[in-house]
């Protein structure tokens, strides 16, 4: 069996708040294989966001090891981590984090700019990605001219454009209504069926039900790790539309 895409061993993260130490992560050892769809759940302060920051290479663990795609990344410096994020990880945020007053296509091109891809190729790949998330007609729209769901699709296109190893989504449906959330989950499921590893952080059980595996965090530890028979978001969507 191949090495898992993500392997953490005894991951700890300690923050110092004044005199007291806060153990945001207190020993997390988890494997996530390629092609999994994982939902990370837990109440606020449970460490799920810190976990995501660490596996997203935004933050370094205080102790413990983290290998991404078989490579140990827990000891890399800031610029090396930036390169890892750029090549291997696609982020989707709750509040979309699109650049204001910047057309959709340029938002999608952003990671490719930092990867040093020539302009013509950037534009072609960004256009193709926008097409895959169903926004071929909105390439030159500004974020302010797009709906919330469309904005999140732009963000997903931006996450996919570098052909990363995994997509990390932090509360991706937090700012969307239930119907749009469903559409989005259908998109994630479609991507996952295409082979993409997806990790979603959420506190909504309804959203977690679309994942094939659910990790529950509490006080910096994984307290439950269970397989889940995922609901099909696409089918639900079809059923919810009045005939």
């Amino acid at each position: 069996m191949a090495a898992p895409l993500i392997r953490t061993q005894g991951l700890e993260k300690t923050y110092r708040l004044g005199d007291s130490e806060v153990h945001a992560l207190a020993g997390v050892s988890i494997d996530i294989a390629e092609g999994e769809f994982v939902a990370v759940m837990g109440p606020s302060g449970s460490g799920k966001s810190t976990f995501m920051n660490v596996i997203g290479c935004l933050d370094r663990p205080t102790r413990g090891a983290y290998a991404l795609g078989g490579q140990d990344v827990s000891a890399l410096d800031a610029d090396a981590l930036a390169g890892t994020r750029n090549r291997h990880i696609g982020f989707v945020f709750q509040n979309f984090n699109l650049l204001a007053r910047t057309p959709a296509i340029e938002n999608v091109e952003l990671p490719l700019i930092y990867a040093g891809v020539p302009a013509a190729e950037r534009a072609a790949r960004a256009r193709e990605m926008l097409g895959r998330v169903g926004l071929a007609e909105r390439v030159h729209h500004l974020p302010s001219q797009l709906s919330g769901g469309q904005q999140q699709r732009v963000a997903i296109a931006r996450a996919l454009v570098t052909q990363p190893l995994l997509i990390l989504a932090d509360e991706p449906t937090g700012a969307l209504d239930s119907h749009t959330s469903l559409e989005l989950m259908a998109l994630f499921q479609a991507l996952n069926r295409g082979g993409m590893t997806v990790v979603i952080v959420t506190h909504e059980p309804d959203i977690a039900r679309f994942a094939g595996r659910v990790l529950r965090f509490l006080d910096g530890r994984v307290v439950r790790d269970e397989a889940n028979a995922p609901l099909d978001a696409g089918r639900q969507l079809a059923e919810s539309v009045p005939a």
């Binding site: 935004l58 994020r85 952003l110 930092y114 040093g116």
Partner: protein, 410 residues
């Protein structure tokens, strides 16, 4: 990440807050245009002084008759005719490289036809023209026979020509100076203003004896063969100060002054005075530029201020850029380019405004201004450096942000 991409990001960011960007640039615009105008005005003043030095003739010594003490009262310079034409001839004869021209000076009314004009009379020798580096526009200079015979001939300056003759050719015309008829034999070239601002072209030259005997009319003057001033020209390549000391020694010897006694004449090194004035106008230029540069620095502080605000406002954008793979140097470059873009656009607009301002000063105040490419390039380069210097701190602050905290920033 290449410069064009950074420049596009910078321009877009600046375009988002147009008013703010424009106001920030204003500091640099004012600074750069002030530097350019000030340097242009200063350089213009300096050029004027240099021109006056050329007009005066370089390497020139001026000897004035000394003060006379009468019953214990010291009278001013020139009150005593301690110099005589023999002194001048001796200087020319005995000091190699020095040419002296003695002169007596007075005022007189000129009449030609029904026109009249009051001007300055110089009784002098033919050496006066080469010593003052003055040439004739027309006619000829005095001949030895005219010098010896106190002939009633004169050479007139351009201002006199204009006021007395208008368009008529003055050569050969007869003018009356204090009722004595004189024949005009020559016309001087235009020389312009002296460093004191007097019109050097408002003058009539005549032989020394003619002036003493027939116009200024003093018998004592004539007997003593006295003169009021002696101009001495030092040949090029010689040390003017050394020649000045030789002249001083010669005159003291001729005047039989004891060692320790005061000079009975005043010797001035005009080139030195002019050089001092040139130096002071150069210092003035530097001073003006320095004061203007202060406003440029203030403009730079404005840029720094706005860039700090911008970094804070765009913390989330910085976090996002880091999340998708921007390295420290990408963020540093982005904000540095933004600051430099502000300062460079400000510098270019300021250059246009400064050049226009220099012309406006020339036109409205009538001052002489001198625009130099170097001053303009220097001002723009300085603006660029200001952008780099004051942009670096905010850019570094942005580049050092922690991506996790930046993304979470509200």
């Amino acid at each position: 990440m290449n410069l064009t991409a950074l420049l596009r990001i910078a321009l877009r960011a600046l375009a988002v807050n147009k008013l703010r960007s424009a106001l920030t640039m204003l500091g640099i615009i004012i600074g750069v245009s002030a530097v350019i105008v000030m340097v242009a005005v200063g350089a213009g003043a300096q050029a004027r002084v240099e021109e006056q030095i050329r007009a005066l003739g370089s390497n020139l010594l001026l000897i004035l008759s000394g003060a006379r003490t009468q019953s214990g009262v010291r009278l001013g310079l020139g009150s005593n005719y301690s110099l005589n034409e023999g002194d001048a001839f001796a200087i020319t004869r005995e000091i190699p490289g020095a040419t002296a021209a003695p002169a007596v000076r007075g005022g007189a009314q000129l009449i030609w036809g029904n026109a009249n004009w009051s001007t300055v009379i110089y009784g002098t020798t033919p050496e006066y023209l080469p010593v003052r580096q003055w040439t004739l526009a027309a006619g000829r200079t005095f001949e030895p026979a005219e010098m010896a015979g106190a002939a009633k001939v004169c050479i007139i300056g351009q201002t006199v020509v204009k006021n007395l003759f208008g368009a008529t050719d003055p050569i050969g015309q007869s003018i009356r100076i204090r009722r004595v008829p004189f024949t005009v034999i020559g016309v001087l070239e235009t020389k312009g203003q002296s460093m004191m601002g007097t019109d050097q072209d408002d003058v009539v030259l005549m032989p020394l004896n003619t002036a003493r005997n027939r116009v200024l009319g003093s018998t004592t003057l004539a007997k003593q063969r006295a003169v009021s001033v002696i101009w001495v020209k030092v040949d090029d390549g010689l040390d003017t100060n050394a020649i000045a000391e030789q002249v001083r020694a010669l005159l003291r010897q001729r005047h039989r002054l004891q060692a320790g006694a005061d000079d009975d004449f005043s010797l001035r090194n005009l080139a030195e005075i002019m050089a001092a004035q040139e130096a002071s106008s150069r210092i003035l230029t530097i001073l003006l530029a320095a004061v203007a540069s202060v406003s440029l620095v203030v403009g730079g502080i404005g840029i720094m201020n706005i860039m700090l605000v911008s970094v804070t406002e765009r913390t989330r954008e910085i976090g996002l850029r880091m999340a998708v793979g921007a390295r420290t140097r990408d963020i540093l470059g982005q904000f540095l380019v933004e600051a430099v873009t502000l300062s460079l656009i400000g510098g270019l607009v300021g250059t246009l405004l400064g050049v226009a301002g220099a012309f406006a000063v020339a036109l409205l105040a009538g001052w002489r201004v001198l625009l130099s490419t170097n001053a303009v390039l220097l001002a723009v380069a300085f603006a660029f450096l200001i952008g780099v210097f004051f942009g670096f701190y905010p850019a570094r602050k942005a580049a050092r942000l922690n991506p996790v905290e930046a993304l979470r920033f509200e």
